[in-house]
Symmetry: C2
Subunit: 382 residues, 2 copies
């Protein structure tokens, strides 16, 4: 066994925990925070809750709520300007993966300067970041605990993956009550993203016993609670368990990294304003079919985590059962089934395959892959 590392932020989990955001910032020495969010979260009222919590402890604050789906380099630049102009000394990100990734990217520029493009890749950040408190509202991205930030390079129409230990926030506050304002479609899409994180982390070349434990639990919880969570906004048991699944999947992939689904999904998301979870949902079973060869036992394990009885089956047979399960789950919860259904153009597949081939997430994919093979998977999923 190689030497491996496991890092995570302090986690505060539970209904009502969002009200601890102000106090948490204070504990990190903040006096004047930049709150990064998006219009959907603002409209749902969660921004007001965060502002109230900051006010109650006497924190000054500035809001920057212009983050869009698949956050862009330009938004990060504007967020950083807001941070510097208002002399902030800490950052809160509240929202889905887009808001949190944007908040982290703002944190990079706030102390390291330059342009966000300079930090693409692994370990490019030199100086410590300001204190960061993240509040996810989607049970999806896991960004609140991860060492990732994914930002769109608008000129090159691609997603830049930034990976660095210093992107792990100081405190992650996970309040399942924030999930009650999500639409069924967003719940389904982000839930499938959680499953993708769990599966890609579990079969990753960088998986360790510590990440396996988290991935296993995340997968198991998705199997039990994603369907009921999509079915009802107020099923608290389902929401709480999906929030836990998202957290555990985030801990797994932050430390085990991901694979071809994310590498390919980043290539699509850089060109189309689509939900990350929708793209992942479509790609996941196709990539699993390709990867099965690389680790039949681990794909067979996943069938057990999902509650299937695999007695008497070979690893390959059980692994194929896992893939069938994922397809059925996607169908049950009504996420899109094909890239052509969500507007991806066939003539862009070659370009996207090249971009995916060079994505940082491809390094830990369990099976070696060529650009042609990526293209083949894209065509099957189209």
């Amino acid at each position: 066994m190689n030497i491996h590392k496991f890092v995570m932020p302090e986690v505060i989990f539970g209904n009502g925990s969002i009200h601890q955001v102000g106090e948490s910032c204070l504990r990190l020495g903040a006096t004047n925070v930049l709150i990064v969010s998006d219009p959907g979260v603002t409209e749902a009222g969660w921004l007001d809750v965060v502002i109230k919590s900051c006010r109650q402890v006497g924190l000054k604050y500035t809001t920057f709520c212009d983050v869009t789906i698949n956050p862009k380099d330009e938004e990060v630049k504007k967020g950083c300007e807001a941070y510097l102009e208002n002399e902030c000394d800490a950052i809160i990100g509240i929202g889905g993966g887009s808001s949190i990734d944007a908040a982290k990217a703002v944190a990079i520029l706030a102390t390291n300067g330059g342009q966000i493009h300079e930090y693409e890749g692994v370990d490019k950040i030199q100086l410590p970041l300001p204190p960061q408190v993240m509040v996810p509202t989607t049970a999806g991205s896991g960004s609140e605990v991860s060492q990732f930030s994914v930002i769109v390079n608008t000129k090159e129409k691609k997603k830049m993956t930034i990976i660095s230990r210093s992107l792990i926030p100081d405190i992650a506050i996970i309040d399942p009550e924030t999930l009650s304002t999500k639409s069924a479609h967003l719940t389904a899409s982000t839930g499938l993203d959680v499953l993708t994180h769990g599966i890609e982390a579990y079969v990753s070349l960088a998986a360790t016993p510590l990440t396996d434990v988290q991935a296993q639990n995340a997968i198991s919880l998705v199997g039990k609670y994603l369907r009921p969570s999509v079915a009802s906004k107020i099923n608290q048991e389902a929401k709480t368990n999906m929030a836990m699944a998202s957290l555990q999947a985030g801990l797994a992939f932050s430390n085990a990294i991901l694979g071809a689904v994310h590498a390919m999904s980043h290539a699509v998301g850089g060109r189309y304003p689509l939900l990350h979870g929708d793209i992942n949902s479509i790609l996941l079973p196709h990539v699993m079919e390709f990867n099965l060869l690389a680790n039949p036992k681990k794909f067979a394990d996943i069938a057990c985590f999902l509650g299937m009885d695999t007695r008497g089956m070979s690893y390959m047979e059980a692994g194929r059962k896992t893939i069938e399960y994922v397809k059925q789950l996607a169908e049950d919860i009504g996420v899109p089934q094909r890239l052509s259904d969500i507007g991806v153009k066939q003539e862009e597949i070659r370009k996207m395959s090249l971009v995916a081939f060079h994505d940082a997430c491809m390094i830990t994919n369990p099976r070696d892959i060529t650009v042609e093979e990526i293209e083949g998977i894209f065509r099957k999923a189209w």
Copy 2:
């Protein structure tokens, strides 16, 4: 569900990871470290490995290797004097729970001053501690990841439990190779301590889904690997898995706290120079018998984690199977069976019961307990 927190240090795990101790200190800004250890670890050669690693990165260092089993207030005082006299700015603890607990206690006094007694209890530490890197060598205490330090009050002949988030070290370096120099008895004793941590954390009133995951895995690994680990010094698979079990049990109990076994064990360990693991081994099944009533389902779960087939059994029946398993395991690996066998005097039971009743670990014991009931358990175990 209540709001709960989960905190852990950065973890570096694997054979050879001990050589990263110097670089890890450097990364935390250290220039001059105090290395806290004990004579056994020094003799086994691990102190030299740590010193070499510090030298290689140009760190100055001072050693303080006078820690004894169940570390004492006076040793902590002397360690702090060494820290201050040599103008150290970081602390390494290498050894079993005694060395690491002592290193943490030195860290408290180094920046907070006063006497270690002033910090007994929960959250009494005001000022930040110096950077701390811990290297466990026993697969036992879990102190390298926990927010606990347990120090003997020599005047009052009792163990003081200090609990604070700031006692969580910055980096824990867990190298299974260090376990190859442990005697069979120490392996058995510390291994049973790991099982105690896993079980007490799992049934604790402060258990959460995040701690349950860690406790479950720790218990399961002890069930599979403690016997072979006791049987052979060079069974690397067993050593690695016991190191992982110890780590996961540490993560579980640091966040879920413990119960009556530890409260009672602290009372004994404050009066007798006995191995903490030996005392726990004796008390564990008796406390489990008392606690079973409080959460039959969780005790039944543990039977499953240990690989037993509980189909057709009630929770109480499966829970009793768990207790039988623990007794059999203790017998198999040859740890002491009775308090009278290890020199505990019957006439001290009443005094120890009173001390145990007031120990911080008793707060999260799943079943309410009186001083008389503690006394009854002590007498059964005597």
